[in-house]
């Protein structure tokens, strides 16, 4: 895909909009359709589109493996951590009132947002990881490498 400049320009200009839309879906999960899962998938699709057009190596430069590995674990930790926090604060597990006892309505929104962040982190990074591991060595990394080095580093 080295010479397909229309594809490259289109993919690069689409990526920020897809990312913003994915984040919007995560943030507004409490008032509109969507949530952490759908938004996470959309965020992941932005990275995967970038990886499809520019090659897996370039995508792993943008979002390295250590980062995706850390964030996919961090998502679950954030979710369970919110629950543990409410438990330690003297409420039931994942009773979001604990986050803002004076105003349970806002507390619930805060708790839901935290939890949706957790789901979004985990889902998007797992999707990126699955794409990474499936595609590596099979989809030629024609993006930024010379052809001799394409196809994974063993």
């Amino acid at each position: 895909m080295r010479d397909q400049s229309i594809l490259r320009v289109a993919a690069k200009s689409m990526t920020p909009f897809i990312l913003v839309f994915g984040l919007y879906v995560i943030f507004h999960g409490d008032i509109s359709p969507g949530g952490g899962f759908q938004g996470g998938v959309i965020v992941a699709s932005a990275f995967i589109l970038y990886g499809l057009v520019y090659g897996g190596a370039e995508m792993r430069r943008v979002i390295p493996r250590w980062l995706s590995d850390t964030l996919l674990a961090f998502g679950v930790l954030l979710y369970a951590g919110t629950g543990t926090f409410t438990l330690l604060a003297g409420y039931r597990f994942l009773d979001y009132t604990a986050l803002l006892p004076g105003n349970p309505g806002t507390g619930e929104v805060i708790g839901m947002t935290l939890v949706e962040y957790g789901v979004g982190f985990t889902v998007s990074m797992v999707m990126i990881t699955i794409y990474n591991e499936i595609s590596e060595g099979t989809v030629p990394d024609t993006g930024s490498q010379p052809p001799g080095e394409a196809g994974g580093n063993g």
Binding site: D30, G75, T106, G118, V123, V126, S135
Partner: protein, 218 residues
């Protein structure tokens, strides 16, 4: 016949055709595309049924990511399906029995949009149908008055047993502070524990990919 049914019927017919095509077609890239079309058609059906969250998920996951991962997997297994000339009768029997049981199961389901169905007469659903949500009396900024306000309005379904449940919860701000999106409220508030472990399942899927497929940089 209302247009709702006509649209659904046409879409379901197309879904059936696509499903049959998935079985017949031997080229796996084409199968991947057909499965993507299948998911998009299902998303349209969910949209037609006002189930936006499901439609959203179907379009994003079923049509989007699944197709990419399917095509990615094809790179490993090749693009032509191995032909199976012989009809496998036990498999046909099992599939037929399962399909029959599923179709038989739909007979017992309540009609679509039936206000007396268990899903619609649940106390949580009633609150959401009556838009009792986010009417938090003591929350500043929401000044819409107490939740009792809506207790005078008739529920959308006259025949349903909403009386005692609705009156029990109308003044008690049962929906205190719950977010407007019903689906999100159920998923991350009423069923937050379920969702936590669903997230953990996805996490384990990612972990399995890392452990089994990642190449060691030796």
């Amino acid at each position: 016949m209302p247009s709702f049914d006509v649209i659904n019927l046409v879409l379901l017919l197309m879904v059936t055709l696509v499903a049959v095509a998935v079985v017949i077609v031997r080229n796996l890239v084409a199968v991947g595309m057909l499965m993507s079309i299948y998911s998009f058609l299902m998303a349209l059906i969910w949209t037609n049924m006002d189930s936006m969250d499901v439609a959203f998920t179907e379009a994003a996951v079923g049509a989007g990511i699944s197709t990419i991962l399917f095509i990615g997997a094809l790179v490993h297994v090749g693009t032509e399906e191995t032909p199976h000339p012989r009809l496998h009768w036990p498999a046909l029997l099992v599939t037929g029995l399962t399909a029959g049981a599923l179709i038989y199961g739909t007979v017992g389901m309540p009609a679509f949009e039936d206000p007396a169905s268990p899903a619609n007469s649940n106390r949580v659903s009633i609150g959401y149908i009556r838009q009792d949500v986010e009417k938090t009396p003591d929350a500043p900024g929401h000044g819409t008055g107490p939740a009792v306000h809506d207790a005078t309005q008739p529920v959308a379904a006259p025949g349903q047993p909403a009386g005692p449940v609705a009156q029990e919860h109308a003044g008690a701000d049962y929906f205190h502070g719950h977010v407007p999106n019903f689906v999100t409220a159920v998923i991350v508030s009423y069923r937050a524990f379920d969702t936590m472990f669903e997230t953990a399942v996805i996490f384990i899927a990612g972990l399995a990919m890392i452990l089994f497929l990642r190449r060691r940089t030796a």
